[in-house]
């Protein structure tokens, strides 16, 4: 293994920047942060050894600016770069620029990023490697950029509903569901337009739509010496707007045989692009337990902690060591890893729990859950400003317990401890998922959240009205005596909203 870098630039913000910084410190590497001007007081900066400003502007001019990031690395004398997820993490051009600057790139080979980044190209490679892919318009097609007429013909063969997908998209972006043949031409046009704007790649294709699929992904790792292994699955079917809200491992949908064949397919997928480092192969699993390759994320995944918890590993450390030339650890290659217990990740988003509209503001009170089996990877704290320019993910709550039932109860306990005031969050949605019989049974698929009853704003109990009045005025003596006041409800449980008084008007 090459010597450790003295400083590691983390080209990201929020919880993942903090996450990577923690491992860097544990390895004796100084984590160097970056920040946009407007973000100078941001939470992640407090977890770095030092940070460097990226200047003014929005994400495109700062966290997405390759020259500014390379400058930051130079000025801080960082000799390695970890991209986190999002931003430039799956940008092959960035990876190449990092390497061209003589810096260590903590990520997969740029070629592998590129090969998986183009969905059509990736699907073709997967077919060649014998990995099943979702049936689509590109199967057996002669051109990867067919005419709309060709696509409309293929659409009729695939049947409706179907999905129009941008080859340059991924992660739930650049796709549209089409229910009727007559809507297809417009959807093709719109998707192509969006794709050109967003990904500078207007190629689109059609995919069979599954009504009640599960999304199950496999963590894979490859080293420079050609070894590729998987680190088991993550169940990612709890989604809103095609994006994950809660993940768990193991998946109740897999039995040992299915786990083995999906794991083997994931390893084959990674091998097919010469993968080195950490990656995730996403599969769609249909009701009859057929699985299909969806895409490969060529970076650390948001939900990587549940794999860390059940395997007792540090995936960021493994990323860094592999980038430095270490082989995969012998127990990984020997199939000696055995997941222990059950782990669930919940994503706390700054968004309303019903419509999922982002929310912004200032976090006035922030008290995290803690204690046994609870890990919080946060990207904000008390006083943090939540703006509109970045991902609404505030923090991830990861709970682990000996079995799934205990993990669910632990998750509910931990959620109930979390005090976040000042910015609306999706905590009520997370609580609703954990309470849903469908989720608790384990028999759920990607439509779960859509089928939940709406998260009604709860009726405040007396104690909340009183607390609100105190905070609004804060004009009550701190140790007032209750003597001499007749209690309206002297017994029972007067503070429970369920048994509670209803307001008159």
């Amino acid at each position: 293994m090459d010597p450790l870098p003295r400083r590691l630039l983390i080209a990201n913000r929020g919880e993942i920047a903090v996450r990577v910084a923690r491992t860097a410190r544990e390895m004796g590497i100084e984590p160097v942060g970056v920040f946009a001007d407007a973000d100078a007081g941001a939470f992640h900066v407090s977890h770095m050894g030092r940070s460097v400003g990226l200047g003014a502007g929005g994400p495109a001019e700062t966290y997405l600016s390759i020259p500014r990031l390379l400058e930051a690395a130079a000025s801080s004398e960082a000799t390695a770069i970890h991209p986190g997820y999002g931003f430039l993490s799956e940008n092959a051009e960035f990876a190449r620029a990092v390497q061209a600057a003589g810096l260590l790139w903590i990520g997969p080979p740029p070629d592998a990023i590129q090969k998986m980044g183009d969905k059509l190209q990736a699907r073709r490679r997967m077919r060649t490697a014998g990995v099943p892919v979702v049936p689509g318009s590109d199967a057996g097609a002669t051109s990867e950029d067919p005419s709309d007429e060709d696509l409309i013909r293929r659409g009729a063969e695939i049947g409706f509903p179907l999905l129009v997908k941008a080859s340059g998209g991924g992660g739930g972006k650049g796709m549209a569901r089409v229910d009727r043949a007559e809507d297809l031409p417009e959807a093709l046009e719109e998707t192509r337009r969006v794709a050109i704007a967003a990904f500078a790649n207007g190629r689109v294709y059609l995919e069979k739509f599954f009504e009640s699929p599960r999304h199950v992904e496999f963590q894979v790792f490859g080293d420079r010496y050609g070894s590729v292994v998987h680190l088991f699955e993550r169940e990612c079917s709890v989604q809103r707007r095609h994006q994950k809200v809660l993940e768990e491992t193991p998946s109740v949908a897999l039995d040992p045989r299915l786990r083995e064949s999906m794991g083997r397919a994931a390893v084959e997928a990674a091998r097919a692009v010469g993968y080195v480092g950490a990656g995730t192969v996403e599969f769609l699993l249909d009701e009859r337990k057929n699985f299909y390759f969806l895409e490969m994320n060529t970076r650390l995944q948001v939900e990587h902690p549940i794999t860390e918890e059940t395997l007792g590993l540090d995936l960021v450390r493994a990323q860094i060591e592999i980038a430095l030339g270490a082989p995969l650890p012998a127990p990984w290659r020997g199939g000696k890893l055995l997941p222990q217990g059950h782990s669930i990740e919940m994503r706390l988003y700054a968004e309303d729990p019903n419509e999922f509209f982002p929310r912004s503001g200032r976090i006035l009170v922030w008290e995290e859950p803690a204690g046994p089996g609870v890990r919080v990877d946060a990207g904000v704290g008390a006083g943090s400003t939540v703006g509109v320019d970045y991902d609404p993910l505030l923090a991830k709550l990861v709970v682990s317990a000996p079995d799934r039932a205990a993990a669910i109860e632990r998750a509910r306990r931990a959620l109930s401890e979390w005090v976040v005031l000042g910015v609306e969050t999706n905590a009520a949605l997370l609580a609703a998922v954990l309470a849903a019989p469908e989720f608790r049974s384990g028999r759920y698929c990607t439509d779960l959240i859509g089928r939940l009853p709406p998260r009604a704003a709860p009726d405040p109990p007396d104690v909340a009205w009183i607390a609100a009045a105190i905070a609004a005025g804060d004009d009550v003596p701190a140790t007032a005596s209750a003597a001499g006041v007749s209690a309206a409800r002297p017994s029972g449980d007067p503070w429970d909203a369920r048994s509670g008084w209803r307001l008159g008007a």
């Binding site: 700054a350 968004e351 419509e355 509209f357 982002p358 929310r359 912004s360 200032r362 006035l364 009170v365 008290e367 509109v388 320019d389 970045y390 991902d391 609404p392 959620l415 109930s416 005090v419 976040v420 005031l421 000042g422 905590a427 009520a428 609580a431 704003a457 709860p458 405040p460 109990p461 007396d462 104690v463 909340a464 009205w465 009183i466 607390a467 609100a468 009045a469 105190i470 905070a471 609004a472 005025g473 804060d474 004009d475 009550v476 003596p477 701190a478 140790t479 007032a480 005596s481 209750a482 003597a483 006041v485 309206a488 409800r489 017994s491 007067p494 503070w495 008084w501 307001l503 008159g504």
Partner: protein, 158 residues
């Protein structure tokens, strides 16, 4: 003072040792850790709570749930601005804070129900703002690149 939560508004008065909530009297004792209210005692039992005010909003945590209250001005300043605008059929409100990514219509255009007028972007999410009905676009309040708050009127259709 008048506090609202959801569609309820209540007159809350705090006295020494008791609160009147509408027409009820509820005895209580606030409990503080340092200066911070951390619990409320009632009937000999203490219940943890957190509460904080910002502008006309009060946020409260109690028993694992979060509540939002509005402090209503003393005068009869009836419904809040956002709601009044929403009640006004002509206004088209921003559903979230964000940045105007694209403007797809111009003032004076005749627009049809469902037509996308604006694309609003926040936190990696794009949201299409569609016309609620057929009509004439008489006002477009923002231009591409503008930052908007949640609840502000983006456009007006006659």
């Amino acid at each position: 003072m008048k506090l609202s939560s959801g569609d309820r508004t209540v007159d809350v008065t705090l006295e020494d040792g008791a609160a009147s909530l509408g027409d009820r009297i509820v005895p209580f004792i606030p409990r503080r850790g340092g200066d911070t209210l951390v619990a409320v005692e009632h009937g000999g039992q203490v219940f943890p709570v957190r509460a904080v005010r910002e502008g006309d909003r009060v946020y409260v945590w109690s028993a694992g749930r979060t509540f939002e209250f509005r402090v209503e001005a003393a005068a009869a300043r009836a419904p809040a601005r956002a709601r009044s605008a929403r009640a006004d059929g002509g206004g088209l409100l921003s559903p979230m804070p964000g940045r105007i990514r694209r403007v797809l219509a111009a003032e004076g255009d005749i627009v049809s129900r469902g037509q996308v007028l604006l694309v609003l972007e926040a936190m990696k999410m794009e949201h299409a703002i569609r016309s609620p009905r057929d009509g004439k676009l008489v006002r477009l309040a923002y231009a591409e690149g503008d930052l908007v708050e949640a609840g502000v009127a983006l456009a007006e259709i006659e």
